[in-house]
């Protein structure tokens, strides 16, 4: 395979950013080769320039603001950068194709799946309608869509997220391209679907012998699929080599740090918890979203998000709630904080039922149960200064504003932010810093329980590791009790003493994390655990401190 001529060869590629950006070049000196039948993974954190390199290959950069400033890209020996727009149209979709991150937005919601595949085929394929249709259905069959005939006539919203991504792959591969660029194709998917899609990409690529340039931020995915790995940081290649080499013997300190940030799958040793008092107890929680019908449109079917959920959280314990999207885990976090009204059940915080409180009692009770939200940008009011954001809760509960602000400054230090941050607005911070502010806000109330709803899922892996470490640290020091909602089993393994596995609104398995991971009882749990990307790969011994 090594003596085959490369499909894609990039030499010293430089992509210039507009003046006034944080750096002059988005990519500086990228060298890369994709050979036939090879999957090259480009890994990097957000802002590393990995998606722009895909844009450069497709000649789809937002020119003239962002443009190629130097270097060469050759595709099958031809210089891509010298092609005219007309020639590029012949290449795009036909010989180089792309799979995008978000299959819902990449597909036109107004057109059927078949129409959209046909559109690509019409441009580049000889043959009449019937032949094209036959080919399209064959492609849908190849990506293992059940009942391709009916999928051909379906609209994107009528099929599941995983199936939409399969359709995207079918579209991308329908003309047997030589090069497939996959830009985070599985990031928006659940783990079990992700594994299937990764397998599918691998399988199809081996059949066709195409080269794949796979862009991702997730080392687990890299371990699953890559032949060759390129690690990018701030537009510069810090390391590249064979997958095995980079994953198990990383040379560059940045790669080492990134790999060390991947949460380990080994759960913490179980704590002797059962003797401690219960601080949060949910009993028989139930929530149905009644889809509201209009006067004329009639009622639609109601969706049950959570049915009959019960759990106990002990003092100082971390209880993980894991499940895929649609399992009702986020609904649980909103029910126990009463941001959503439950249909039935009780939530006992410190021995008092939160759901039975009157509105004014509820406002008083809120200080016992605080929340850290998923999106650190959306959960901080953009018009307020950090110090006011943190001090707001105590002030509402009658604390003297001056004292509350002084305390807010102390809390900033506790979450390892400089006190200079106090007078700034949220948009001046990075994602990880904003999440620290969110944590400080929750801590300001000195709550008995903190509910964390996917607090690290929006963060880069190295930042994620730092925030997780901070959370674990604070929990141990302040004896906090955490209800931790996550879709990421690696994160759950790191932090949670006990976990609840949810599927379709029901608990399918609950227990001490170490035991559940070692010996899952329920088939769904087994399926989840076996779908974790890179589960066979154990990151090398941590010789550097991630944080």
């Amino acid at each position: 395979m090594s003596d085959q001529s490369p499909i894609l060869e990039i030499r010293d590629l430089k992509i210039a950013l507009p003046e006034g950006s944080d750096r002059p070049f988005a990519l500086d000196g990228l060298n890369l080769t994709v050979k036939p039948g090879e999957i090259v993974c480009m890994v990097g954190e957000s802002g590393s320039g990995k998606s722009l390199s895909a844009g450069a290959i497709m000649r789809l950069l937002p020119e003239p603001h962002v443009h190629v400033a130097g270097g060469s890209i050759s595709f099958l020996g031809d210089d891509i950068l010298a092609k005219t727009d007309r020639e590029m149209k012949q290449i795009r979709g036909n010989r180089i194709s792309m799979i995008f991150q978000e299959p819902m937005t990449a597909l036109n919601p107004q057109k059927t799946v078949g129409w959209q595949i046909d559109e690509v085929l019409k441009l580049h394929m000889e043959g009449n309608r019937a032949a094209r249709r036959k080919h399209a259905i064959e492609m849908l069959n190849r990506v293992h869509i059940p009942d391709p005939e009916s999928a051909y006539n379906a609209y994107p919203h009528q099929i599941s997220g995983g199936q939409r991504q399969r359709v995207m792959i079918a579209m991308a591969l329908s003309l047997s391209p030589k090069l497939v660029i996959a830009d985070e194709p599985t990031t928006a998917l659940d783990v079990t679907t992700q594994l299937q899609i990764l397998k599918l990409i691998r399988e199809l690529q081996q059949e066709d012998g195409a080269g794949v340039l796979f862009i991702t931020h997730d080392f687990g995915v890299v371990a699953e699929i890559a032949d060759h790995v390129i690690v990018l940081r701030q537009g510069e290649v810090v390391e590249q080599g064979a997958a095995d080499q980079v994953l198990n013997h990383p040379q560059h300190p940045y790669t080492q740090a990134l790999i060390a940030s991947v949460p380990d799958l080994a759960p913490p040793p179980p704590k002797p918890v059962s003797t401690l008092p219960v601080v949060l107890k949910g009993t028989g929680l139930k929530k149905t979203f009644a889809a509201k019908g209009g006067l004329l449109s009639g009622k639609r079917k109601a969706v049950t998000a959570v049915k009959d959920l019960s759990f106990e959280l002990h003092q100082g314990e971390t209880l993980g709630v894991v499940g895929e999207s649609g399992s009702g885990k986020t609904t649980v976090s909103r029910l126990v904080t009463r941001l959503l009204e439950a249909d039935a059940g009780a939530v006992d915080v410190d021995g008092k039922d939160l759901l039975a409180c009157s509105p004014s009692e509820l406002r008083g009770m809120r200080k016992h149960i605080q929340m850290v939200f998923q999106d650190p940008m959306a959960s901080l009011n953009p018009r307020k200064r950090v110090v006011d954001l943190i001090a707001q809760g105590p002030i509402v509960h009658g604390e003297d504003p001056e004292k509350a602000r002084a305390r807010a400054r102390e809390l900033l230090e506790l979450v390892e932010l400089s006190p200079a941050a106090a007078n700034r607005f949220p948009h001046e911070f990075s994602g990880g810093q904003r999440q620290r502010i969110g944590i400080a806000r929750a801590l300001a109330m000195e709550p008995k329980v903190i509910v964390a709803d996917e607090p690290v899922s929006a963060l880069d892996v190295s930042v994620q590791a730092q925030v997780l470490k901070l959370l674990a640290d604070l929990r141990d020091r302040m004896n906090l009790s955490l209800l931790f909602v996550t879709h990421d089993l690696r994160v759950a393994a790191q932090l949670c003493d006990c976990i609840i596995v949810m599927q379709k609104g029901e608990i399918v398995e609950a227990g001490v994390t170490a035991e559940v991971f070692a010996d899952p009882k329920h088939p769904y749990t087994r399926n989840l655990l076996s779908s974790i990307p890179g589960r066979h790969w154990t990151p090398p011994v941590r010789n550097t401190d991630a944080a």
Binding site: G20, P253, Y254, A257, L258, S261, R334, T337, L339, L362, R363, G364, R366, K367, Q370, M371, F373, Q374, D375, A378, S379, L380, N381, P382, R383, Q392, G393, V396, H397, E416, L417, S418, A420, A421, R424, F425, E428, F429, S430, G432, Q433, R436, G438, R441, M445, S462, V463, Q466, V467, T544, A546, A547
Partner: protein
């Protein structure tokens, strides 16, 4: 080595400076601001330029502009000074523009905020009321209100406010509906913040930019509405207003066109300045723009 994510970026300039930088980039908006400043200046200095009543006789009737330097822009058919009418009229136009806009925005914000925040039957009821107002043509409703209330300037201003609130109400409602589901609202609610504070302290500041931009449109429309009323002779006769001047100038339009044209130009420029101002505000308040 990984960079610690706790290092702060350098501080950004204050909001006011960023705002001014963005505003300044739009030349037309600067022109708008300039004309607006002149109108404000005219309103403020009216008493110095011509102390006394602008409705008194100042010279021979129908003096053409630039003939008699004691009345530089000429006089109308009753010998009233057009220049001083312009200056005093600026007061009325600004007063009507500002107060009517405040009334319209205040009603609009309250109704829109309640409808958007609470949703459900509150929204249904308030939106049906809004629609009822929207189905009646603005100017017809205004005429009716003025006929009922009388044509004192205070009532006219109030009436203009009452006919203009529907559009801002719909706008505020849309903003609230998208903002009320944002996590920061949940976060504040989870701190125990009351509904009133959630509406006015958390959501409203974030909903303001498009409302401020739209306020400039309402201001321009209010001035036009007042002028139209005055043109029909339904304005307050006790004040010199640009609309009154045009209305009376209409009678001598063929012989002394300047009686109607000069205040007409003043209205055009003022309304234009508000419209340019609104465009500039839109640019400056639009967060997608870079500083």
């Amino acid at each position: 080595m990984t960079v610690l994510d706790t290092e702060l970026r350098p501080a950004e300039p204050s909001r006011a400076i960023v705002f001014w930088r963005r505003y300044r980039r739009n030349r037309a908006a600067l022109l708008g601001l300039f004309i607006f400043a002149i109108v404000v200046l005219m309103a403020l200095t009216a008493g110095f330029v011509d102390p006394g009543d602008p409705l008194r006789r100042a010279g021979d009737p129908l003096t053409a502009p630039f003939v008699d330097m004691s009345v530089p822009l000429g006089t109308d058919q009753l010998g009233r000074d057009i220049l001083s009418g312009l200056f005093y009229g600026a007061r009325i136009s600004l007063l009507v523009g500002v107060v009517a806009t405040l009334v319209a925005i205040a009603i609009g914000v309250i109704i829109g905020a309640l409808a958007g925040y609470f949703g459900g039957w509150v929204d249904d009821v308030l939106m049906r009321v809004t629609e009822a107002f929207q189905t009646i043509p603005n100017f017809v409703l205004l005429l009716t209100l003025v006929a009922i209330l009388g044509s004192k300037i205070e009532w006219i201003t109030l009436a203009i406010g009452i006919v203009s609130w529907t559009a801002p109400a719909r706008m505020v409602r849309a903003e609230f509906m998208s903002l009320r589901n944002r996590e920061f609202v949940d976060a504040a609610r989870n701190l125990g913040v009351s509904n009133t504070s959630l509406i006015f302290r958390e959501i409203l500041p974030n909903a303001l930019p498009p409302i401020i931009v739209y306020a400039s449109v309402i201001m321009a429309l209010s001035i036009l509405l007042e002028s139209a009323l005055a043109f029909l002779g339904l304005g307050d006769p006790n004040y010199a207003s640009w609309g009154n001047m045009i209305g009376q100038g209409r009678a001598v339009l063929r012989t002394a066109w300047y009686c109607a044209a000069i205040p007409g130009i003043a209205i055009v420029l003022t309304v234009l300045s508000f419209s340019l101002l609104g465009e500039g505000l839109n640019d400056a308040l639009n967060p997608r723009q870079k500083q």
